[in-house]
Amino acid sequence: MKLTIAKDQLLTGLQAVQNVVGSRSTLPILSNVLLRAEGGQLHCTATDLDVTISCAVPANVEIPGTVTLPVKKIVGITRELAANEIEIEVDEKAVAMVRAGASYFKVHGLAADEFPPLQSFQNAKSVTFTQEKLKSMLRKTSFAVSTDETRYVLNGIFFSFKDSKATLVATDGRRLALTDEDAEIAPTSQADFIVPTKAISELNRLLTAGPVEIQFTENLVAFRTTAATEGGTGVLIISKLVDGSYPNYRQVIPQAPQERITLVREELLQALRRAEIMTSDKSNSVKLAFGRNQLVITGNTPEVGEARETLSINYSGKEMAIAFNPTYLMDPLKALTNDEIFFELIDELSPGVVKCNEPFLYVIMPMRMS
């Protein structure tokens, strides 16, 4: 294998995949990146056996071939090289010679045939989105994913492809975020599955512009992006699916709100940020008191002090005071970009709902004084 490649291109390819390489890999080969030079491209691939990422970048391939190299070393070398053009040549013993300007490195690799093969998605079901749309859907849901290791099925985002609608749901048992979009879904591609958190964070990092094809089987999902521009990079993210059934999220969506209040998102967010300052670990709630045309938000900790924020709103419903964890209330406000949001309430012990002028719904459980 022999090729020359621009430093920026090599770095792009390596940085796209290196995140999945764990520091405590059980198999030495999993600390390596698989490099495959072929047809004017260098394909970089890394895996932790749960998530696999592959990224193709343009290269000038003289002799096609494959090798695996320790990813930490090769990223370090590439980042520090002074010259812009890098030549990589690999001998039959998987030893790589890296030359760039006045620098020369010899790096011992491992044969590529020991690297776990990429899973096949032949005959898999598939749905295609734009990367922008998928990224926006992930942004509106991923903050609500559970990190609690005892709630395995909630450690990911639920994808549902049904009746020309793609729905994404995330919940940690205290709040739930849901968004949906119209999508072209073939009758044979109807399905639902749970994509684990690690794959989600890689998607959040790697999605840019252009189309993304989502392929899925019983236990695997692949996200395949195509570069929007000539000479750009395409990325493939493959992940195992979370094995388990997602809870029936529809049952927790309140059907008949008593009050629907329009609020200025940024104004509410700022007020909550300030009120949160006076909360504490033991007293981690803010109280929202709705009165005639005004909302008073208070946060307090006994013997520390209190914050009081008064917002002018349009409200003529019954007086109501309801307490929430400020983080859970601010999360969707940070994820949205709309000027206005709608807050729907029933009473102080029933779930509240945040909506906006886009397909988005957020259910948040209140806190109760005992």
């Binding site: 919940t171 709040r175 809870p247 007293s283 964890n325 259910v363 806190m367 109760r368 004084m369 005992s370």
Partner: protein
């Protein structure tokens, strides 16, 4: 209080006075002795002993089912008498409490203050006996460690003063197990190192940390009768637990789940009544051969609701595959408790 549960029974049923009374499970059933009257103790019956063993040791013992409500009411009445002596009372269990009277003798020489406490303690003992018909044993000393040892020293109806200058001498002949914090495991370690009595500990030239780890310096202080633990007031409980011993050993999942659900409800109820939240959930299993295992899980997000406690307990049992053979006992508990007046409601799954 002396043989508390048994004494309450003997007070309420005069025909039982002078009889060996054993409160707990019947001798032909599983379960343990909760309390034994002094007449029963002569036969070697002790609390926490399996009832079958007690039945063997004391075949003519009068076995009574515990009447917890009666004991709790009695405990409240006695604690009220203690509270009448001053504000500094730390209940330790239903029948034990520490009183701190040091504020009543400001500036007095410590030995003199201890002596002044004697008539007050005697008056308290008399009042408990007169108003409640029960006897109590009292230890008077300069700290909790010694006061407790003093109260155990001359039961029943005992009153023991440990003068401050005599504390090391008082402790010398006692077995190491008598010290607060020395359980079966620590005792084994100490005895293996040739340290049988508290005197042995006092004379031990080496670093006790080599034997008992970071607890070494405290153990040395305790051995010399030094203890600076303050009284803890109010409902300062460290953990809440619940467990069931089954009539027949079982691995029937629906039964075990029902048992866990009930325990979780009980624990969540206690948490709610005290406005507490927990950060640690523990499960306990005991197999037919008495092998006992516990597993626990801690997290930042506090646990309050029964179904959450239940879910975490099930998760722990499943994670470590603890139910792979019939269980004699199944239990759960919560700890890492913190007062929190406001609790997060959760979605129904």
């Amino acid at each position: 209080m002396d043989a508390f549960f048994a004494s309450v029974e003997q007070r309420d049923r005069p025909e039982l006075r002078g009889q060996p009374v054993i409160v707990g499970s019947p001798p032909d059933r599983r379960g343990v002795v909760s309390a034994a009257s002094y007449e029963a103790r002569k036969f070697g019956v002790r609390s926490a002993m399996p009832s079958r063993t007690a039945g063997r040791l004391c075949p003519h013992g009068v076995f009574l089912r515990p009447r917890m409500d009666a004991y709790r009411d009695e405990s409240r009445a006695v604690m009220a008498l203690l509270a009448a002596t001053g504000p500094h009372v730390q209940p330790v269990s239903v029948d034990e409490a520490y009183l701190d009277w040091s504020a009543d003798h400001p500036g007095t020489d410590p030995e003199a203050a201890l002596l002044q406490a004697v008539p007050r303690a005697r008056a308290l003992q008399t009042r408990i006996h007169r108003e409640r018909g029960l006897t109590a044993s009292i230890g008077i000393a300069s700290n909790k460690l010694l006061a407790k040892l003093g109260s155990d020293f001359n039961k029943p109806n005992g009153l023991t003063l440990i003068p401050d200058r005599d504390r090391a001498a008082f402790l010398r002949p006692l077995p190491v197990r008598a010290l607060h914090g020395v359980g079966a495991v620590t005792e084994q370690v100490l005895v293996a190192a040739g340290l049988r009595t508290i005197g042995d500990l006092q004379d031990h030239p080496g670093d006790l940390r080599a034997l008992v780890g970071s607890w070494g310096p405290t153990l040395r202080q305790f051995a010399h009768g030094e203890d600076d633990r303050a009284l803890e007031y109010g409902d300062d409980i460290k953990s809440i637990s619940s467990e069931n011993t089954f009539g027949t050993d079982t691995e029937d999942r629906p039964l075990l789940r029902a048992c866990l659900r009930e325990q979780a409800e009980e624990i969540a109820g206690k948490l709610a009544r005290r406005s507490l939240v927990a950060r640690t959930v523990q499960v306990k299993v005991r197999y037919s051969d008495f092998t006992t295992l516990t597993r626990q899980f801690s997290r930042d997000e506090p646990v309050t609701e029964a179904r959450e406690i239940y879910r975490l307990a099930c998760w722990l049992l499943a994670r470590d595959k603890l139910v792979h053979r019939p269980l004699r006992l199944l239990g759960m508990g919560v700890s890492g408790l913190q007062e929190q007046k406001i609790r997060q409601l959760i979605l129904p799954w």
